[in-house]
């Protein structure tokens, strides 16, 4: 076990611009997880070369009507002990623009997605575990009738600050018989 002090700072600023003219809204959050390490051979504490390690990130999100855009800046200078060291340096590994046109949802850039329960395809993030396999590409979502939803995407998968090899393409249909048949009868 390591003998260390952990500092976790979470600052959540919310800024909304203009009420008279609709400039849209900008929101964000900031998360910093930093640790300092003390050598302690008596408890077999691992010897950590660096005195100070940190994972930090900030999300910024803009929304106006049907349009949303956002990005995340991540900083590993250097990544916390026991985090994959390929998390290295700074960058904006996540940025997207999204628009909803009468039920058709179009996303370009980075997105997370899950087909059904995720067994076949799941792109997600689990920051505490250092997991983030966001897609980078194009995604369409559409629900033609109540009870049927369609999704399609093409993209490359995130691999730390780069892309993994290959292209991933997927299409999914989710059919809910209750919604499709019985809701209509209620009307």
């Amino acid at each position: 076990m390591l003998n260390r002090l952990s500092y976790l700072l979470v600052i959540i600023p919310f800024i909304s611009l203009g009420q008279e003219q609709d400039w849209g809204e900008v929101h964000g959050d900031f998360n910093l997880n930093a640790q300092t390490y003390t050598e302690d051979p008596s408890i077999n504490a691992a010897k950590v070369d660096e005195f100070f390690l940190m994972n930090g990130y900030s999300n910024i999100r803009f929304n106006k009507g049907n349009f949303t855009a956002g990005l995340r800046y991540e900083s590993y200078l250097n990544a916390l002990q026991d985090f994959d060291s390929r998390h290295n340096g700074n960058g904006i590994p996540y940025r997207f623009a999204q628009y909803n046109i009468e039920g058709l949802d179009v996303t370009v850039g980075n997105f997370y997605e899950q087909f059904g329960n995720g067994l076949i395809f799941r792109s997600y993030e689990e920051k505490d575990l250092g997991i983030d396999n966001a897609m980078d590409g194009v995604r369409l979502k559409y629900s033609p009738v109540q009870g049927l939803s369609l999704k399609g995407f093409v993209g490359k998968q995130r691999f730390f600050f780069e892309h993994g090899p290959g292209i991933i393409r997927g299409i999914d249909a989710e059919l809910n018989m209750n919604d499709l048949l019985f809701k209509k009868l209620e009307r």
């Binding site: 976790l8 700072l9 959540i12 800024i15 329960n117």
Partner: protein
């Protein structure tokens, strides 16, 4: 190991609720656009079956929920961020604790991400225009008192 937490909340103006797809406990599709309480306050609480403070918060509020509703008309919407593997535990948990909240599931954390939720519990308070006017991360005994004070401010 010592842990220090600092949370700074700076709220200048209102934030509208983002429109995000969600699932019900029965795994049918719905959306945050369906959240409604006839102009009365709404509380959105992000939780997970594996999160002890979340369950504690929701249980503590459940003891007084009936009174809260009678006095302010507030509605509590509890959104579970349990992933697909744990999603099946949501309904049994809700039934076991006998919660009367509106429960939704956000298995890929889309709604949580759009709201800037990085850890649970994270609770938001919405006014009659469904704008976010207050939020709180974490839960310690007594936080529900502060939440109720904010709800009362909105209701009266």
């Amino acid at each position: 190991m010592t842990m220090l937490f600092a949370t700074v909340q700076i709220t200048f103006a209102q934030r509208t609720l983002p429109k995000i797809d969600l699932k019900t406990m029965e795994n049918t599709a719905t959306s945050t656009a369906a959240f409604d309480n006839d102009g009365k306050p709404i509380v959105i609480s992000f939780w997970a079956t594996w999160c002890k403070p979340c369950v504690k918060e929701l249980n503590t509020i459940a003891e007084e929920y009936e009174d809260w509703v009678d006095e302010t008309g507030v509605k509590i919407i509890a959104v579970s961020i349990d992933d697909s593997r744990n999603m099946s535990k949501v309904k049994p948990k809700v039934n076991a604790e006998m919660w009367e909240y509106e429960i939704y599931c956000d298995p890929n954390r889309d709604f949580a991400r759009a709201m800037g939720v990085s850890s649970v519990p994270h609770t938001f308070l919405l006014n009659s225009n469904k704008e976010i006017v207050w939020q709180h991360k974490g839960y310690v005994d007594g936080d529900e008192i502060e939440l109720y004070e904010k709800i009362e401010e909105l209701a009266h």
